[in-house]
C-alpha cells in the first residue's frame, strides 16, 4: 500500500516536471525550428502579429491569430543563406558582440583572479569595508551609475567606442566576489607549506592558487560571458553609432521587418551561449552555487 502510494506520487511529480520542462523549452524550440521555415511559411504563421493593417482589424475568426508551428512544412536553409551570406550586416553585428564580450571576459578573469586572492587570503587594512563596497556596487542596477559613467567615458574620450563598454565590464566586481568565495575554500596549509619551501607570493599565486581555483575561474568566465553576450542597456546608451552595436540590440530591431531572418539570426546568436553552457554545465552550476556561499 505504502509502496503504491509512493509510485503514484513519483508519477505525479514526474508529470509536473515534464510539463514545466516543455513550457521552459518551448520558446527555444519555436525559435530554432522556425529558422528553417521559408519566408512564406513564416508569413502565414506570423502575419496576424506583424501586419499592422490586420492588427487593427478586430476579427474573431481563428485565421487572424498567429500560430506556433514546430515542424516546418519544408526545411529550407534560405534564412541562413540570407543571414550569413546575402546580408553582411548580421556578421558585422555578430563580430561587434565578439569584440565587446571577449575582452571583457579575458580582462575580468585576470583582474578578478588577482583581486580575489588579495581579498580571500591576504590581510590588509580596510579589507572588509572595501569588499562591502564591491558587493554594494554589484547589487546596483546599471542605470544607477549611468550618467557618471557616461560622463567619465566622455572625459576619457571613449564615447561611441567599444571601450566605453569594455572597461566598466572588465572592472565589474562580480568576478571578484565569486572567486573570493571560491578561494576562501582553499586551505591555508597549502600556502603555509609553499612559504616554508621558500616560494614568494607571486609563485604561491601562480603555482598554487590559480591551479586550485581552475573550476572557480571557469565558472566565473562562463557567467561573465553569458551576462555580456546578453547586454542591452550599455550599448543602448554608449553606442549611438548603429554600425558599432552588438547583435543583442540589433536583433530587436529587425524583428518587425523580416521575421524569418530574425529567427535564423536569433538561433545563430544563442548558439555560442547555449553550446558553452552544454559543454561546461558543471562549471556554470558550480558558479551559481558559489554565488550563494556566505562570505
Amino acid at each position: 500500500m505504502l509502496k503504491r502510494n509512493h509510485r503514484i506520487k513519483n508519477i505525479l511529480h514526474l508529470t509536473v516536471l515534464l510539463v514545466l520542462a516543455v513550457l521552459f523549452m518551448f520558446p527555444l524550440a519555436v525559435t530554432v525550428t522556425n529558422s528553417f521555415m521559408s519566408e512564406q511559411e513564416i508569413a502565414d504563421n506570423y502575419d496576424p502579429v506583424t501586419d499592422k493593417n490586420l492588427s487593427s482589424y478586430n476579427g474573431d475568426t481563428a485565421n487572424h491569430f498567429a500560430r506556433f508551428q514546430l515542424i516546418p512544412e519544408v526545411v529550407v536553409l534560405k534564412q541562413y543563406y540570407n543571414v550569413l551570406i546575402k546580408k553582411t550586416q548580421f556578421l558585422f553585428m555578430f563580430w561587434n558582440s565578439v569584440l565587446i564580450t571577449f575582452p571583457i571576459v579575458i580582462g575580468q578573469t585576470i583582474v578578478a583572479t588577482l583581486a580575489a586572492y588579495a581579498f580571500a587570503k591576504l590581510k590588509f587594512r580596510g579589507r572588509n569595508f572595501l569588499f562591502f563596497l564591491y558587493i554594494l556596487v554589484m547589487l546596483m542596477p546599471f542605470q544607477v551609475t549611468l550618467v557618471p559613467n557616461y560622463l567619465m567615458a566622455g572625459q576619457l574620450g571613449l564615447l561611441n567606442s567599444h571601450w566605453s563598454i569594455i572597461f566598466p565590464g572588465i572592472f565589474s566586481t562580480f568576478g571578484v566576489f565569486l572567486l573570493k568565495q571560491y578561494m576562501e575554500q582553499i586551505p591555508d596549509s597549502y600556502i603555509e607549506a609553499a612559504r616554508v619551501d621558500g616560494a614568494n607570493q607571486l609563485q604561491i599565486f601562480l603555482k598554487i592558487i590559480v591551479p586550485m581555483s581552475r573550476a572557480g575561474i571557469a565558472a566565473m568566465a562562463i557567467l561573465v560571458f553569458i551576462d555580456n553576450w546578453n547586454m542591452v542597456e550599455q550599448p543602448l546608451i554608449f553606442l549611438q553609432d548603429a554600425a558599432k552595436q552588438p547583435l543583442s540590440l540589433y536583433l530587436s530591431r529587425i524583428i518587425d521587418g523580416e521575421k524569418g531572418l530574425a529567427f535564423a539570426a536569433s538561433t545563430l546568436y544563442m548558439m555560442p551561449a547555449l553550446l558553452n553552457f552544454l559543454y561546461a554545465e558543471k562549471y556554470l552550476l558550480e558558479g551559481i552555487r558559489l554565488s550563494g556561499i556566505k562570505g
Partner: protein, 290 residues
Amino acid sequence: MRTGKLKTNNGCLAWLFLGPSLLGFSLFYLLPFATGFYYSLVDSPINGTFVGLHNYGALLKNPSFLSALANTAKFTLICVPLNMILSLGVALLLNQKLPGRNLFRTIMVTPLVVPVASIVLVWQAFFDLNGVLNFLIQALGYPSVDWMKTSWSRMVVLVIYLWKNIGYSVILFLAGLQNIPAEYYEAARIDGASRRQEFFRITLIYLTPTTFFVFVISMINSFKVFREAYLISGEYPHNSIYMLQHYMNNMFMALDYQKLTSAAFIMAAFIVAIVLLLFIVERKITNMIN
C-alpha cells in the same frame, strides 16, 4: 618581530594584487558614483550651484517618477516571493530520486543562458493582440485580451521573469537542501514527526541562509527584467510596466541629469536599506538556530 614584518609585507603585497581591480573600480564605479551624488545636489551639471536636497524634493513630487517607483516596487513585491515559492517547489521535486532529474535540472537552467533578444520574437507572437495566447483563450470561449497594452502587461513581464530566473534559484535551493544533514530527518522520523512537520521544522529552518540569498538575487534580477520590457515594448511601454529604469533611461535621453541622478540615488538607497535589513534579520535567525 618577525611576524610583524611578515604582516606589513603581506599588506603591501595585497595592494599589488588588488591594484588593477581597485584602480578600475575607482575610476569606473566609485568616482562616477561620487560625482553622481554631486550632480544630484546641484542645479546643472556644468557650473551648477548647490541646491541641497531640492532635486530630491522635486522628484518626489514628480508624477511619472512616483508611478515608476510604485511600479518597480509592486513588480518586485509580486515577482520575488513568487519566484522563491516556485523555485523551492521545483528544487524539492528535483531533490528526490527521480529518473532524468539531471536533465530536468539542465532544462530549468537553460533560459538563463539564452540571450533575451533571441526569444523576444516568440514572446511577442505569444502575447500580441492577435497572438497565440489569445487564440487559445478564444478557443476556450473567452474574449481576447490586449496583453501588452493593458495592465496585464505586468503579468507578461512576470511570466518572462519567472521563465528566465527560476533556474538560478532552483540551483541555489538544491545546494541548500543537499547541505541539510540526513541525520536531522532520521531523528525527526524516530520521534514520529509527520512529513509536514519535517518540512516546516527542519527543511525551512535550515534553508534560511539560502532563502535569504535567493531573496537578494531574485530582487537584483527583478531589476534586470527591464531588458525584456524594453525589448518587447520600447521606451514608453504601458503605464503599468513603466519602471524606474525606463524613467532613468528617458531622463538620460532628455539630458535631465539632476532628475536621473536623484532617482538613481533613491533607488540605491532602497536597495542598500533592504539588503542591510535582510542581513540583520538573517544574522538574528541564524543565531537563534545555533
